[in-house]
Symmetry: none
Subunit: 190 residues, 2 copies
C-alpha cells in the first residue's frame, strides 16, 4: 500500500515547486532537514499525521477528510486555478447571481432566506474571491436561472450555499471538526 504515500509525496512536491521553494528552504521553514523532505516527496517514508499537517501548513495546505461520494465535486473545485486571465468575470458572476435572486424575489417578496442570500451576495461582492469560490457562485447561478421561481424548495440548497460561503469567509473558516473531513490530493499542477 505504497500508493498513498507516493501520491501524497507528489502532491507536496508539486505544492513546494509551485511556490518556488527548494527542499532546503522548505525544510528550514518546517523545522526539519532537506534529507527528510527528499524522502517524503519520493514516498520513502510513511510520516506521522502531525508531521504531515505541519508540512502541509507550511505550504499553505490543509488536510480535509471528505466523504468519498463528494470527492468529484471537491476535486472539481480544487482543480480550478486562480487565474487572473479574466478580470471581468468576477463582476459578471456577481451581477448575474444578483439578477437571479431579484427575479426570485418578485415571486417570493418576503422570503427570509432569499433576503439572507441577497445579503450574502452583497457581502461576497466586497470580498476577495478565489477562483474556486467564483466557480461555486457560477454553479449556483446556473441552477438558479434554470429553475422556475415556483420551485423555491429546490432552490434553497443554492441559497444555503451562498449564505454558507459568506459565513465561511466572514469567520475565516474556523472549521468544525465534527464533520466529514479527510484528505486526498490537490494535485493541481503548473
Amino acid at each position: 500500500m505504497r500508493y498513498a504515500l507516493e501520491e501524497m509525496g507528489a502532491a507536496l512536491k508539486a505544492a513546494r515547486e509551485r511556490q518556488g521553494l527548494s527542499q532546503r528552504e522548505l525544510a528550514d521553514a518546517a523545522g526539519t532537514d532537506q534529507a527528510r523532505i527528499s524522502k517524503i516527496e519520493s514516498g520513502d517514508i510513511d510520516l506521522r499525521l502531525s508531521s504531515l499537517v505541519n508540512l502541509a501548513r507550511t505550504l499553505g495546505l490543509e488536510l480535509v477528510l471528505a466523504d468519498r461520494r463528494h470527492l468529484p465535486a471537491v476535486e472539481a473545485i480544487l482543480k480550478e486555478r486562480a487565474s487572473d486571465a479574466d478580470p471581468g468575470r468576477r463582476s459578471r458572476v456577481i451581477r448575474r447571481i444578483r439578477e437571479n435572486l431579484q427575479n426570485l424575489q418578485r415571486a417570493h417578496p418576503d422570503d427570509r432566506q432569499l433576503k439572507q442570500a441577497m445579503n450574502a451576495v452583497a457581502v461576497l461582492n466586497m470580498a476577495r474571491l478565489t477562483e474556486a469560490e467564483l466557480a461555486l457562485l457560477e454553479e449556483a447561478s446556473g441552477q438558479l436561472s434554470d429553475a422556475k421561481p415556483e420551485a423555491m424548495d429546490q432552490l434553497r440548497p443554492r441559497l444555503e450555499t451562498l449564505i454558507r460561503l459568506r459565513n465561511a469567509k466572514a469567520h475565516g473558516a474556523p472549521d468544525t471538526p465534527g464533520q466529514q473531513p479527510a484528505y486526498t490530493l490537490d494535485d493541481d499542477d503548473e
Copy 2:
C-alpha cells in the same frame, strides 16, 4: 501541537458513529484492534499516514490536501451535500426532540407553551427542513435533554425557538426581529 490529532480523532469518531459502527467493528474492518481505535479517536496516537488513509477509507472517507484559500468553497460543498447524504438524520432529530418534550410533559402536564411546542414539532415533521434548521433542532434537543424537568424556566427559550421556527416556515412570519437568526451559523455538524 496536539490539536490536529484530536480534531482528526474526533472527525474519525464522528464518521464511525454516523455509520453505526462500534470501535471493535471498525477495528476488524480496518485490520487492527479496538484499543487502537480508542486511542486514535482520543488523539492519544500520532498515527502514520498509511494508517490514517487505511482507516479513513474503511469509513468511506478520503484525505484531501487542499489549498487553504479554497477551504471555504470545499467546506461549503461538503456541508451542502451532507444534508442530502443522511436521510435518517431528520427522523432521528424529530424523534429525539419529541421524546424530550414528552418527558417534560410528564412533569408539566398542563403547560401551554409546552403544548405549543409539541404542536410545532408535529408541523415541522411534515415540513422540509434545511441543514441549518436540522442543526437548530439538534441544538435545541441537546439542551432540552441536558436540563432537568424542574428547571422549566430555563427551557422556555428553547420552546420559543421551536415555535418560532414553525411559524417562520408556516407563514413566513416576520416573527424574529433580531438581527441574525441563529440558524445561519456555520457551525452545524452531525
